[in-house]
């Protein structure tokens, strides 16, 4: 376990990722990311990775155990298929943030664009700003917490993931419905906000959305909803 510094204007992304795989518990500082793709992908230990700037596609993909902090914006698919650990985006995230993530926490301080937490499989995604359209599409389990607004078709074809939104929802997707926010849900939101470090946000201001479970099995009477 040691300290590594990579200037990506001078060395390829692959050298960073190889070092991250070789010293899985190390501490990494990444300079000049320049929007490059696949930065800090496939971490498998308790590494701490800090990236100074904007990153491209699939940053921190498949992350296990590691903590990755991006001091900038990120492109498509940040923390895609994350298994565990924590990924923090200090800026905005592009489309499909946290796609198919199985575990861990993805925190986004800015906004996330379309299809945030698409096909979520158990991770928690907490967004300080707003999310774009079709967020939570086909999300199976895990939690999506949005402190701002949500775009159109939120939670379309949702399975058992739970969605909490504090602001306006432009529209709900097929089979997504608003559900009562009970004490247990307020506690769940409070816990997730605390984990993300957003303690100043009031949990009772959120509304809860989930699956109406009408699309689980084909029913000719609901065919129009497909």
């Amino acid at each position: 376990m040691s300290f590594h510094e990579f200037d990506l204007s001078a060395v390829p992304v692959r050298s960073l990722n190889a070092a991250l795989h070789a010293d899985a518990d190390g501490t990494f500082r990444v300079l000049e990311p320049g929007g490059r793709h696949a930065i800090a992908v496939g971490a498998s230990g308790e590494a701490a990775v800090e990236i100074d700037g904007h990153v491209g596609y699939y940053c921190a993909g498949m992350n296990q155990l590691a903590t990755v902090r991006i001091r900038g914006n990120c492109g498509v698919g940040v923390a895609e298929n994350m298994m565990s650990g924590k990924v923090v985006v200090e800026g905005d995230a592009s489309q499909a943030a946290g796609a198919t993530a199985h575990g861990g926490l993805l925190r986004i301080d800015g906004n996330a664009s379309a299809r945030c937490a698409i096909s979520l499989k158990g991770a928690d995604v907490v967004v300080r700003g707003s999310v774009g359209h079709m967020s939570g599409f086909m999300a199976q389990s895990g939690r999506l917490v949005v402190c701002g607004d949500a775009g159109d078709a939120l939670g379309d074809s949702l399975y058992e993931a739970r969605i909490y939104v504090r602001g306006q929802v432009a529209g709900l997707g097929a089979d997504c419905v608003e559900k009562q926010l009970e004490d247990e849900h307020r506690a769940e939101v409070a816990e997730l906000l605390a984990e993300a470090g957003f303690e100043d946000v009031e949990p009772s201001e959120f509304r809860r959305y989930g699956s109406a479970r009408r699309l689980y099995n084909f029913d000719v009477n609901t065919a129009v909803a497909y």
Binding site: G34, N73, G75, Q95
Partner: protein, 301 residues
């Protein structure tokens, strides 16, 4: 997949090095579109009654000397710039629309890549790095430019199928995406009199804009018409005499990133193209909303 770039200069210093900036951005998008590349640059505007035309030879070993003599006699040639055996630009003492129509009628061995007062278009079915060197893009100055790197999915890789597509006086279009209703729309536009050069879906989008603009629509209205009439995926960048506009389809299938500093406004398919610009790392960067027309320039769209 394809790559798009656009840059609009807000300072003299940036304008002087516009080609260098555009070239750096386009090179970053090379792996999004390795089979063709193109650039529309807006520079050195000519006056009323004059036109700039960008020309591509459709035949091998064309004699540009003979072409320039024809242009001198037919259109009142003022300046002729031969890029290489296949490409040239000319300034003529004729209005742009009339100049383009004359070349199309009288010199069938040429394709008019653009006609206008400030636009010049260069494009070819070569990899982007070769393209940038061949046309000396890094040495160019100008007020704004849009560019494209192509990864063909819908139609053949040919010079005519590469972008930007000229869409009218000082107007052009680049497209990342694919349209699914282009055959029907092409047939409708052909009935309206449009002549198509390729089977390319993007050429149909360009022709659609040309048609809407010719019918008197503003650029913004014409672009908003795309939301109704085009079915498919698209991020468009449109170059105008005064700036450029960006539109993404309502589902936002294709990427786009915008950035602005005191020196420039720029768009690209990916941030890494913007990162090459001066102070790109410190620019305000955001992602355009789907289905919303964004535009920059001295004159509103």
């Amino acid at each position: 997949m394809c790559g798009i770039i656009g840059i609009y200069s807000k300072s003299d210093a940036c304008s002087r090095e516009l080609g260098k900036h555009a070239a750096g951005m386009l090179a970053q998008m090379a792996d999004r579109g390795p089979d063709s590349a193109g650039l529309a640059i807006y520079r050195d505007p000519v006056g009323e009654g004059e036109a700039k035309v960008s020309l591509r030879s459709l035949v091998p070993r064309l004699e540009w000397g003979r072409v320039s003599e024809s242009l001198y006699e037919g259109l009142g040639l003022e300046r002729f710039g031969e890029v290489d055996e296949a490409f040239a630009t000319a300034v003529v003492r004729t209005e742009p629309g009339a100049a383009a129509a004359w070349v199309a009628a009288e010199l069938p061995e040429l394709e008019v890549l653009s006609a206008g007062r400030s636009i010049e278009i260069f494009k070819d079915a070569v990899d982007p790095v070769t393209f940038l060197e061949r046309f000396g893009v890094a040495e160019m100055s100008g007020s704004h430019a849009i560019g494209h790197t192509r990864m063909a999915t819908e139609s053949r890789v040919t010079p005519a199928g590469s972008h930007p597509f000229w869409t009218g006086l000082d107007l052009c279009l680049v497209h990342n995406g694919s349209l699914s209703n282009h055959n029907r729309l092409r047939a409708e536009l052909e009935r309206e009199g449009t002549v198509f050069r390729t089977e390319n879906d993007s050429e149909v989008a360009a022709a659609y804009l040309t048609w809407r603009l010719a019918a008197g629509n503003s650029l913004e209205a014409a672009l908003e018409g795309c939301l109704e009439d085009l079915d498919g995926f698209y991020t468009f960048a449109v170059g105008t005499a005064d700036g450029f506009a960006v539109l993404r389809d309502p589902i936002a299938c294709k990427p786009a990133v915008l950035a602005e500093t005191d020196e420039w406004v720029a768009m690209a398919s990916e941030y890494r193209a913007l990162a090459t610009l001066p102070n790109g790392a410190d620019a305000e960067v955001w992602e355009p909303e789907p289905g919303v027309v964004y535009s920059w320039g001295r004159v509103p769209v």
